[in-house]
Symmetry: C2
Subunit: 244 residues, 2 copies
């Protein structure tokens, strides 16, 4: 590679470096979830660039949901609030069209296990690494509709007590208790047939069709933090995707 090609490839706009610098400060905890960032001009002074460049970085961070901005108020580090989670990470809607919000969660089981080959692969761990396995169900108006298996690398959640109860919104809990902010995820959606386990958990008849949604979720810093399998009663809920 010639020097010219190097400099071509090495070019990175200033606003992207600023974006990374701000992200790093958030990851480092300099500004926590919900905290207000310095104003555009203060950040510009702090980082020795113009206000316009800071603005472009903050627009990008708003886009990727790292911060949010309110005119007349300020720029804040995003939180995994319930409202935000519904919008970004919960795309199930009732088939009848009535919005019932986030179904309530009920813990069935939680235990520390050794990663099976499948789980290790999905979480990019080594077989046998410690993994926290959570089984719970979600109910809509007392009727079970989703069975969730959730796998967490034990490494990131060393403080988690197996005997504690869990809140309805885990992502908020990860953030509050473990300083892990879920920021990106990928869902794979398949159709499956309900088995005996599904029957026991969410009272669907074996043979009924279910959506199986497997999710790999990443934290702000890009670390793979959660693997989740949701089995969803298709007679109650569907998965909605907006494309453009």
């Amino acid at each position: 590679m010639t020097p010219k090609e190097q400099s071509r490839n090495a070019f990175k706009p200033l606003y992207q470096k600023i974006e990374q610098a701000i992200t790093n400060k958030i990851i480092a905890g300099e500004w926590g979830p919900g905290d207000m960032l310095p104003s555009e001009f203060q950040l510009a002074d702090l980082l020795s660039v113009s206000q316009g460049t800071v603005r472009k970085a903050l627009e990008a961070l708003t886009q990727s949901n790292v911060v949010y901005r309110r005119q007349g108020v300020g720029t804040f580090v995003s939180e995994n609030t319930l409202k935000d989670m519904l919008f970004h990470f919960f795309h199930y809607k009732a088939n009848d069209g009535v919005d019932k919000g986030l179904p309530s969660a009920e813990l069935i089981d939680i235990e520390l296990i050794d990663a099976s080959p499948e789980i290790a692969s999905e979480l990019e761990l080594t077989r046998g690494d410690g993994v926290i396995k959570i089984i719970r169900i979600r109910k809509l108006a007392d009727k079970p509709c989703i069975a969730e298996q959730i796998y967490l690398p034990q490494h990131f959640f060393t403080q988690l007590d197996i005997n504690d109860s869990l809140p309805n919104s885990l992502y908020h809990y990860y953030q509050e208790s473990f300083n892990i902010t879920i920021n990106k995820a990928a869902d794979k959606i398949r159709a499956v047939i309900a088995n005996e386990s599904d029957q026991a958990l969410i009272k669907v008849r074996p043979g009924n069709p279910l959506l199986e949604v497997t999710r790999r979720a990443r934290a702000l810093d890009g670390r793979l933090v959660e693997y989740r399998i949701s089995r969803v009663d298709s007679e109650q809920l569907h998965y909605l995707v907006d494309l453009n």
Copy 2:
């Protein structure tokens, strides 16, 4: 509503008006799919605003996939090309992880029908309006994997000849032959059990689980142009969603 409140609510940034103005020119056909738009400075002169404002409008139009920009070359009206369609409107992936591209389509039936209550409702038509119904299947390496029912308001496709053959990518065809550019869509995903029709079309055993994806697609100008039901062999394909 007081005058003050009126003026508050009436405020609309200049760049949004510019965005709309450019969109309107594209809808009107002043610039067609693939055409190069005037440069930022030319547009600024044309619309009597600064280059920076034009830039902001074009950035928004890039975001919503109305235009695309290539540094050093120009700004172009987006086309429903195969590559673009795969990226924006085809989110099925092979379960084995191997990317096989867009499965080839095979026409089974095409006819002009009167809208049933369900179809009329989904396409926001009146019961009995003329609707073109297309049935086709998609194959991956000669193996059927998706059965598609497609419903088009006859009104938008008056030139369509029932006896013509159809290309693999309908969206490109809508654009080329009917000046209809698909720009937005919403997919509803459910799990269903294969029936006799599915068995006949895509050779799955009755009782097997399928994904049923119903899509309502809109043109650039916001008109509802297509209602599509895809029944997908879940043993071959899954639906992938990226969240952030």
